[in-house]
């Protein structure tokens, strides 16, 4: 939009990746004089807000300087040799696919840091908390910005340790087991993924994603592609998560602190789906086409399974946990994303990328709201909250109730809000999958997926009825309504949900050319 020198753009992108990491190291040091603040805790939390804020500004600058007329071109790219022995290059760059994810990550992390500044989760020192948050941010941003398979793997692994500690130290009940489950599942998947990445790198002779995408699988034999897609796909599917590899997610979400859940759902899951689009689709298209119907089948099973699990949790007397419910709804939403990718059509993949962003915004907001609810009432148990008639949030804290209802209807895909377009496009893509994929199968998947949207609407409306509505007894004290800092943290998410819903072209205009090119073989 605005013309920024290419070398400045390169610097901005490098800063986005490295900045949080340096910030994490700085967070561990004692605060310099003049920046001591009221207390060491306050100083370090403020440091977190400053660093994530700077990264957010850099991301916005990057988005502004991005040449929106050529979103399919890798921009701000840096390419330095790092480990010649392994042919690993520090190759960074953004295109229309990664830019929205970078901005989303920077935004969500900043909002989390801001929220924690006012509402630090209970646990050990904030120093470690801020450092881990920043390492997490660095890892996620890096995985969206790097264009080298081994660096992608490195970034993919880099988020594990901080997330593990965020859950295990600042989490709620059952956090130790949940953190273990999270890290073991992901590690198991990622080691297999490493083998697949190595296979591709060794057989094709390069780890560079751009070169591999341009090659479009021509230098890989069919059997190599099949093995590589299977190995890499398992690693990514655990992270996404795809049914039946999802079972770490509900536990991790239930136990994680609010900001942990927000980041887990908002950005960490996206690394999995991003990998599908960035690595598997262009680099091993033939192998991916072999697995696409199975992926789609697992995806729609995930949609139905997630919705049914949510319905069961939302039922009266089921002792359903709201955080767990949202986690299961994530499984369903990510099912739509995977279905879109599995169609291998521009429509479907665009829908998947759109749904990715929308899920990050909406689910991030939902986790924030549920976290706030837990702070006020002390529980996320639906039955304990709703008692007999309903929690009557509209009566006790009207703004909080209103926001919750907004996020719920956005999540169920109400037209005009962000959740609608992605799922619609994913289903639309399944209506006419890529040539070579079985159309009847995908039509069936589409029908099942569409049924899933009904189920999604059902459970979310049940949740709204049980949490927001009900009879508010006069003698019960009112809950504190939305605070200023909460407004500050949530407003951007609400606004973007509306903007993305009303003006989808802003996002699709970015992703579509890049996706077209990726599917056509990355030629430029």
């Amino acid at each position: 939009m605005i013309d920024i020198n290419e070398s400045v753009m390169q610097f901005v992108l490098a800063f986005i990746v490295v900045g949080p990491f340096l910030g994490a190291a700085a967070a561990l040091l004692p605060a310099p004089p003049g920046l001591k603040g009221k207390s060491p805790e306050q100083a370090v939390l403020r440091h977190g807000v400053t660093v994530t804020g700077a990264v957010l500004i850099a991301a916005i600058v990057l988005a502004l300087g991005f040449d929106h007329d050529q979103p399919s071109k890798m921009q701000a790219s840096t390419d330095i040799s790092w480990i010649p022995a392994l042919d690993v290059r520090i190759h960074l760059g953004v295109d229309g696919i990664s830019l929205p994810l970078l901005v989303l990550t920077a935004l969500l992390t900043f909002l989390c840091a801001l929220y924690s500044y006012f509402k630090m989760p209970a646990g050990p020192t904030p120093k470690a908390f801020v450092a881990l948050l920043l390492v997490l941010e660095s890892g996620t941003l890096a995985s969206f910005a790097v264009l080298d398979l081994l660096l992608f793997f490195l970034a993919f692994e880099m988020v594990l340790i901080p997330m593990y500690f965020l859950i295990a130290r600042w989490g709620g009940e059952g956090r130790a087991e949940a953190a273990w489950k999270f890290i073991l599942y992901t590690l198991l998947g990622s080691v297999v993924m490493l083998l697949g990445l190595l296979l591709i790198g060794i057989k094709a002779g390069t780890f560079d994603m751009v070169a591999l995408a341009t090659d479009n699988g021509r230098s890989l034999t069919a059997s190599v592609q099949v093995i590589a897609v299977l190995a890499i796909g398992i690693g990514l599917a655990v992270k996404t998560p795809m049914w039946p590899l999802h079972s770490w997610l509900p536990d991790a979400h239930t136990a994680a602190p609010t900001v942990g859940s927000v980041l887990l759902a908002g950005v960490l899951l996206k690394m999995g789906t991003y990998g599908f689009v960035r690595i598997l689709l262009p680099i091993a298209p033939d192998g991916f086409a072999d697995f696409a119907p199975y992926l789609a089948a697992f995806a729609v099973v995930g949609i139905i399974y997630g919705s049914l699990a949510c319905l069961a949790l939302a039922k009266q007397g089921a002792k359903g946990d709201l955080k767990r419910l949202i986690a299961y709804s994530s499984v369903g939403h990510m099912g739509f994303v995977l279905l879109g990718i599995a169609t291998m059509t521009p429509t479907g993949v665009n829908g998947a990328l759109f749904a990715n962003i929308a899920h990050g915004l909406i689910t991030g907001l939902l986790f924030f709201l549920v976290g706030a609810l837990k702070d006020r009432t002390g529980t996320t148990d639906l039955d304990a909250l709703a008692e007999q008639t309903g929690a009557a949030l509209y009566g006790k804290a009207p703004r909080l109730g209103g926001l919750l209802a907004f996020a719920a209807v956005a999540s169920l895909g109400l037209p005009g809000l962000a959740g609608f377009w992605g799922e619609m496009l994913a289903l639309f893509g399944a209506f006419e999958p890529a040539a070579g994929l079985s159309r009847p199968a995908f039509l069936t998947f589409m029908a099942i997926g569409a049924f899933g949207t009904l189920l999604t609407a059902a459970y979310l409306l049940v949740v709204v009825r049980r949490v927001c509505m009900g009879v508010a007894p006069q003698d019960v004290p009112k809950l504190a309504d939305v605070q200023t800092y909460e407004f500050a943290a949530w407003t951007p998410l609400v606004a973007l949900t509306v903007v993305a819903g009303l003006w989808p072209k802003a996002l699709l205009g970015l992703t579509d050319p890049a996706v077209q090119q990726l599917l056509a073989g990355g030629t430029r």
Binding site: W82, P84, A85
Partner: protein, 507 residues
Amino acid sequence: MSALAQPLAESVVQSVDWLAIAPPTIAALVGLVVLVADLFVAENKKALLGWTSVAGLAASLLLLLPLLDGDRATFCLTGDAGVCSYTADRFTLVIQFLVLGGALLAALLSVTALKDANKELPEGEFWFLLLSSAAGAALLPASRDLATLIVALEVASLPAFALVGLRYGDRKSSEAALKFFLSSVTATAVSLMGISFVYASTGTLYLTQIADRIQNVDGQLQTLAQTGVVLTLVGFAFKTAAVPFHFWVPDTYVGAPLPVAAYLSVVGKAVGFTGLILVTVIALPSYADVWGPALAALAALTMTVGNVGALRQQATRAYSAVRLLAWSSVGQAGYLLVPIAAAAYSNDGERSIGSTVAYALMYAAVNLGAFAVAALVGRTKPLNRISDYRGLYARNPLSALILAFFLLCLAGLPPGIIGLFAKVTVFSAAVDAGLGWLAVVMAVNVVIALFYYLQWTALLFRAPEGEAVRHLVPAPVTATMALAGVVGIALSGAPQLILRFADTGLF
């Protein structure tokens, strides 16, 4: 000397390139000096011996520098200058750097250990044994004939038995030494027998000549040659603590003084796999179809047994931290074997060997670092249980952070970037050679290892039980941790420093 006698003398008397053999020689000489000096040094100045030895090891490390310019060889056949017993090529230099550096760090740790032992360990003997063993280990990678190889191997391992059993009146220590000694001597006898068979069938001890001649062995001697090859390999497999020759490791490590355990875990391993590389890749490339599958199976078994053994350690058992490190070192030995096995299948075996060397360098630095922190904790908690590490961060933040870094390097997880990439080279050697199944076995093992390393790492940051008491850290231990830490962090930033060995031929 008359003009006639001169050429005769030249053909009989070998000229020796003293600079080339300086690194192991200096270590051995300083060892002798320390042993003699021990008789004359007053009781309260015994610490001097330790620092002399440290300086000696540092000097032999420095003497590697002038050798960097090119390949040198000495003790060559007078008839054929291409066949030498001692070669200082890149492979030799890298391994010598590894063993001498490892010995230096172990020696630094020992300075404190000896001081803490309060005369329970005889100082002069200790340093003599350590330096002799280091000299043997430094000689080994340079030796290019089977006799020198065996002599070097014995010089490296015989003092190690004594080091393990050195503690006065410690039953566990002497039991460990005996176990170690008996099994090692058996292995040596076996490999000597193998070497004699190989000699019988080829008529030479030089590795390069064996490589040529063993291909055209007389039909009748074929069985003899094959038996010889297998027996030789068995002997060297023992030294790497490969399964099923691993059983001595945990008890030996627990019984030995901690710095000695650290020394064995790094230098002992290096000795074993160097010998194995020389015998397999240099001497017996034509038998690749025999030792390739055998080593691949051995690697898979070793890593699985080692990692499962480490996984089964209970945190509250006595010495569980050392036991875990011991078992995990068996597992790591398995990873080290993978590229050697891959060398049998690939066209460019020397490149695969480079992966082993790179991995070993990474492993040496971080494992010695982990042992240094274990030695530090062992000073206040002599039982050295894993549960003793709980809340280390609260007591001593820096050592907890650095131990976490070392453990994550061993596990191969960021921020231990070098550990990750070292594993990647090993993986790629396996995938490159078409050993997909071995890569998968290793992947499973990496996950098992991640489990116990992470569990330990997580424990460091738990809230401590009871009051956190800070202790002064002795300078030598700090120096060891700092050296290992700096190496680990520098390598994480620039992995190319060691990974380049995986890129080029070393011989």
